[in-house]
Symmetry: C2
Subunit: 256 residues, 2 copies
Amino acid sequence: MGKVIAIANQKGGVGKTTTAINLSSCIATAEVKVLLIDFDAQANCTSGMGLDPANLKNSIYEVITGKIPIKETIVKTSIKNLEFIPSSKNLAGATVELVYLEDREKILKRKIEGLKNKYDFIFIDCPPALDLLTVNALTASDSVIIPVQCEYFALEGLTELLKTIERVRMSLNRNLEIEGVLLTMYDDRTNLSQQVKEEIKHFFKEKTYETVIPRNVRLAEAPSFGKPIILYDIKSKGASSYINLAREILKNEKEK
Amino acid sequence: MGKVIAIANQKGGVGKTTTAINLSSCIATAEVKVLLIDFDAQANCTSGMGLDPANLKNSIYEVITGKIPIKETIVKTSIKNLEFIPSSKNLAGATVELVYLEDREKILKRKIEGLKNKYDFIFIDCPPALDLLTVNALTASDSVIIPVQCEYFALEGLTELLKTIERVRMSLNRNLEIEGVLLTMYDDRTNLSQQVKEEIKHFFKEKTYETVIPRNVRLAEAPSFGKPIILYDIKSKGASSYINLAREILKNEKEK
Ligand SMILES: Nc1ncnc2c1ncn2[C@@H]1O[C@H](COP(=O)(O)OP(=O)(O)OP(=O)(O)O)[C@@H](O)[C@H]1O
Ligand SMILES: Nc1ncnc2c1ncn2[C@@H]1O[C@H](COP(=O)(O)OP(=O)(O)OP(=O)(O)O)[C@@H](O)[C@H]1O
Ligand SMILES: [Mg+2]
Ligand SMILES: [Mg+2]
């Protein structure tokens, strides 16, 4: 059914990559075909999936600069129904390289069009910026998942993100919706986490996922082994929370 | 003595802004004149200092696009010897606006030249990117403090950051040095924090600050009140760690 979902938030370190890797792996274990695209020049998603970004010649950068067809960049992963397109640090130059192309916001959309009938879900991990790359991801997507770290600066950044989503909806992608808002790194011992959670629920109401991702060191350890959490430590709270999130999203999908 | 120090790391959420606000405030309490510049379009430093970025017309953006002189943007703060130049979200457009100017990497350097005799330290908070803004900050600086969150992705990003520092040193700023590497959000209950600390000490040796900033929720709460930690909760571990860091840096400065 080819649903494209961007995982976006311009605030740094809120759990975009951790969500991209772990949500896509959990959804793939539900016998659903998933593609994960690393769209950040820092390529954390790529190393978190066990690849070495330094030595990659077939990445999403070569695709959006027209050097190779997208199909040549897709790799299998250690999870049966999950395939992956890596990034490379060269992507950092793309914002400047592409800024004069006509329809420069629609490049990614055009490139993934031909893949949508091959996958049930395509997830896109975005960089901490509201730049041309993130706008490409939002233009290419049916919806966006917004991870929000349970702290003040992450809350504050939402205004700009929502304005950007609105602008993309107005002029580039009429169908763009918010898939959901995901509270991450929730620390149930602090009032701050509780306050941010209440503020998010108050503003986003039912768009706020029931599932809240707790702070769990296993989630921070897994990428150093190049593994999603379900292969690194399936018994951890980190694993069960992303499994629950996958269930919640698949259930939302059925009910539509 | 006008020492300019950039606080940089392209990895998101590693504590650049928290360090910028709190280190500059602690240094200012040592009867030393300090200027803090917010150089990130997300303007977390600006709101963490109690200002509202949405309503600012005199920001560093207007300075680097030549609209107003830098002296018109400097504001006093609740800390006696600390002055501040705010950012605004318009800075997001600067990377594209300035990309065709000659000496585009040296704009910030030229703009702050006239301020160096007015302050002992000038700190620059950088965005989570190795883009034209961060390169401007590195070109304008005598040295750079690198906050490193005690987790895998932050460690991995150091290679690219060090290459960028080297490139700036080679072609734009021969004097650029690493002031120090600061371990942040250290969680002494986890092996991961300990492993990252050992790796950093092994690689950076004496450039690694003795002071390690622990994970302390007070540091995350303070910005929601627009206050540096020493005005929000001076008894907290967050406050004492940044006070110790300020002492360490001032002592290093005396010994040079
Ligand atoms: N629930 C969690 N518990 C503990 N650590 C976490 C959790 N989620 C993410 N982390 C860790 O926090 C750091 C930031 O997470 P992550 O890199 O996923 O955020 P990001 O939004 O992708 O960052 P960036 O903006 O730099 O792309 C990483 O070191 C990650 O391993
Ligand atoms: N030592 C600490 N203990 C607890 N929370 C912290 C600590 N340092 C920073 N934080 C919180 O962690 C989050 C990330 O920190 P901060 O915004 O300073 O990082 P940053 O590197 O400036 O991020 P960005 O890349 O988005 O600019 C913030 O919510 C901040 O309040
Ligand atoms: Mg990321
Ligand atoms: Mg910051």
